[in-house]
């Protein structure tokens, strides 16, 4: 068969049809929940930021960086989106990028949209956001004004964890309905190893971007806005 190695996301057929349908339903429900909850994250100033963040993630995803000889990685964007515009809006940002890529650029399968959205815009965003919130709370306990560099470190770790968790979601999907004879253990080990390295690149890109926005417009950053509206425990 003829292959095409340009694709960045899961193609149709690498998990079976019933599994794909299950994850399409999961993704659709999650997008619906995000659309309802995102209302609380969005206002006049953050709508343009959220639109730009989606476009920025689309752009940066095009830039594959080498991680090993013959293997590359690219940004997933979950941590970046969640920290800048919030977890629900962020999940929608990634889902929109994946839908544009699948429908306009033939990158990532159509029936595989459910699995791709589940991995990157649900699992990746949720894991990264939970990490960022926990680390930011710890940092604020030490000093209420977290320095820009501290936010960079939080963004780096959240992005690394989000990336690895997203890759493990693929392993779960492969375990449920994967095609091919490659053993589950081999897939899991390979995905973990490569995505730990991709996560370092993801972490660096996320940290640099978050720090740039924090320096220019700290009032727009969701992670910091959210903390300001909370009564300290």
């Amino acid at each position: 068969m003829v292959v095409n190695t340009v694709a960045m996301h899961m193609s149709d057929g690498i998990v079976n049809a019933p599994t794909s349908v299950v994850f399409l339903v999961i993704a659709a429900v999650a997008i619906g929940i995000c659309a309802v909850k995102a209302r609380n994250e969005l206002d006049e100033r953050t709508v343009p930021l959220a639109g730009l963040v989606a476009a920025f993630i689309f752009a940066v995803q095009m830039v594959n960086f080498p991680i090993l000889p013959g293997v590359s990685g690219h940004l997933l964007g979950g941590a970046l989106a969640a920290i800048l515009v919030g977890p629900y809006t962020g999940g929608l940002c990634i889902a929109i990028v994946l839908i544009v890529q699948a429908l306009l650029f033939a990158d990532g399968g159509i029936t595989a949209l459910g699995t791709n959205i589940t991995n990157m815009s649900i699992v990746g965003v949720a894991a990264a956001y939970a990490t960022a919130v926990a680390l930011y709370a710890i940092a604020r306990r030490r000093s209420p004004n977290v320095p820009v560099a501290g936010l960079g470190v939080i963004a780096f770790i959240a992005a690394l964890i989000g990336t690895v968790c997203a890759s493990m979601a693929f392993v779960v999907e492969y375990a449920i309905g994967g095609a091919g004879a490659t053993s589950l253990g081999a897939v899991a080990a390979y995905m973990l190893g490569t995505h730990a390295l991709i996560g370092i690149g993801e972490g660096l890109i996320t940290a640099v971007t978050v720090m740039a926005v924090v320096r220019a417009r700290p009032d727009l950053v969701y992670l910091m806005r959210r903390a300001r509206t909370e009564v300290p425990a």
Binding site: N4, D12, A55, F56, A59, M62, V71, S72, L104, Y174
Partner: protein, 125 residues
């Protein structure tokens, strides 16, 4: 920082990454792709690349839109058009995402003129 400079800088960086930096992207398969290629060898043939062996990628179906005008981030499959395809993608993404988020912020709030506000969010810069 002037009011518009942040937005202009963010948009310019996005267009620069999609339109120029994307030409320097690694063409090696990414972590997921190479996982699906474990067990196979890629051999170049007259028809393109063939997979021999036993791997997950052999089960991948061709994309139903593989012959669409912007498939694989190129204009009509032409080499060297990735930057233009990327800029088109950025514009499409910002329009769809911006439109969706505007609707979410403004939709379903009959009787209210502005989207939800929280304490501390009112200060315009």
């Amino acid at each position: 920082m002037k009011r518009w400079s942040f937005w202009i800088a963010f948009a310019a960086a996005t267009l620069l990454i999609a339109g120029v930096v994307s030409y320097f992207a690694s063409s090696s398969p990414d972590g997921l792709d190479s996982a699906t290629l474990q067990g196979c060898e890629i051999t170049e043939t007259a028809d393109g690349e063939q997979l021999t062996g036993d791997c997950i990628a052999q089960h991948a179906a061709e994309h139903p839109l593989a012959t669409s005008p912007l498939a694989d981030y190129a204009i009509g499959g032409q080499d060297g058009t990735g930057g233009i395809a990327g800029i088109i993608g950025v514009v499409v993404t910002v329009v769809i995402a911006g439109g969706a988020f505007w609707l979410i912020a403004h939709g379903g709030r009959a009787g209210e003129t502005s989207p939800s506000r929280r304490a501390g969010d009112d200060k315009q810069t």
